[in-house]
Amino acid sequence: MAINAPKHEIYTRRKSRNLAVMGCCIGMAVMVFAVTIVKVQNGGMVEGFDHTYRASVLPITEPVE
């Protein structure tokens, strides 16, 4: 397709709808990101589950003097 080919009229007709969908997508991404940051900051212990020791299931040991 030529770079300067004339746009189909559907792009003009649906411009406001497309912009609204774009706005919703960006808004949702920002919201999910913000909520994720808050939950990670306020959350409990973050542990890996694959091939790592999980601190919460290790036996409690007294510190050695």
């Binding site: 007709r13 709808r17 909520v35 306020n42």
Partner: protein, 317 residues
């Protein structure tokens, strides 16, 4: 959806953003946002503002989705009623299938997102609210019983329960009282409307109380429900989420609502038609402000408590 043809159905080429926004019933959504946000705010567990904002947003989207599904189902009768004939489907701006897809997509998305943002309980109550409004009220009760809005009114009463569940992860008496306030408010609010929109409902065969039981019985029922509503509002003001402002608003507005309901009771159909349902229209319009004022008062009482300006207050419930 019934097979009745849409009276003014003529497809225009493209639905705009405004048409899809109108499907979400923005005016109903504003009440949902207020009641859910206040319940979330006054709940005894603090919620991070970003999580709170996101939760209220998804509750509002869920409410809007149920509005879109309601408009899809009721498109055949909406086009024949003055109050609803300008909705996007009857005027041909949005195709019924588009409204169905839009409503289902937003329903699933909102429930999923609320469950993730807040907790599974709030997501489950939102899912039940959408189901209740669309299936129980719109598809079943609305066209089959004059008690349609008594039972169906529960759908509109769920948002504060969801807001409370977002904050606390559970349900308690205060949330139930907020639910009861909206639940008991719904019948007199809609029956006042039905009294002056009776012809519309009659024409499309919706068995609203004035259509089935008559004008007099409806006036009696409006007064009974308004009288039952007052103690709920007063009880709420003496709960842990109430306070002096909630009590002042509850006392003033319930007295006004009761006087309005009493005046409706004293009139008959002929008198109402003579002055174009002046009293009924006024009670209906004032009843909209009734709920807004109660929830705003609860929010202000919360502010007084937070700043330490609230007077000592007996918590009886």
């Amino acid at each position: 959806m019934s097979d009745a043809s849409y009276s003014s159905y003529s497809q225009t080429p493209e639905a705009g953003v405004r048409d899809f926004f109108a499907l979400l019933k923005p005016r109903v959504m504003s009440l949902v946002i207020l009641t859910a946000a206040v319940a979330l705010l006054v709940a005894p567990v603090d919620v991070h503002p970003i999580v709170g904002f996101a939760a209220v947003f998804w509750i509002a989207v869920g409410a809007g989705a149920s509005g879109a599904l309601n408009m899809w189902w009721d498109a055949d009768i909406d086009g024949q009623m003055a109050r609803t004939e300008g909705r996007p489907i009857p005027v041909g701006k949005v195709k019924p299938q588009e409204a169905l897809g839009f409503g289902l997509f937003l329903s699933i998305l909102s429930v999923m997102m609320l469950s993730l943002v807040a907790n599974p309980l709030s997501g489950a109550i939102l899912a039940f609210t959408i189901f209740f409004y669309v299936v129980v009220y719109s598809m079943w009760l609305k066209r089959s019983t004059p008690q349609n809005i008594v039972i169906g009114g529960a759908a509109g009463a769920f948002p504060p329960l969801i807001g409370w569940a977002v904050a606390t992860g559970g349900i308690s008496l205060e949330a139930v009282l907020m639910f009861a306030l909206i639940f008991m408010w719904t019948p007199p609010h809609f029956w006042a409307l039905a009294l002056f929109r009776n012809e519309d409902y009659k024409r499309v065969g919706i068995p609203m109380l004035p259509v089935i039981a008559g004008d007099r019985a409806t006036r009696v029922q409006i007064f009974i429900y308004t009288a039952l509503l007052a103690p709920v509002a007063i009880a709420l003001s003496f709960s842990s989420v109430g306070g002096i402002l909630t009590l002042i608003v509850a006392a003033a507005l319930n007295l006004r609502f009761l006087v309005g309901a009493w005046r409706i009771l004293q009139r008959n159909e002929a008198q109402a038609q003579a002055d174009k349902h002046k009293v009924e229209v006024r009670v209906f319009l004032e009843s909209i402000g009734y709920l807004f004022a109660h929830f705003i008062a609860m929010g202000l009482d919360y502010g007084l408590r937070e700043f330490g300006w609230a007077p000592a207050w007996p918590v009886l419930f």
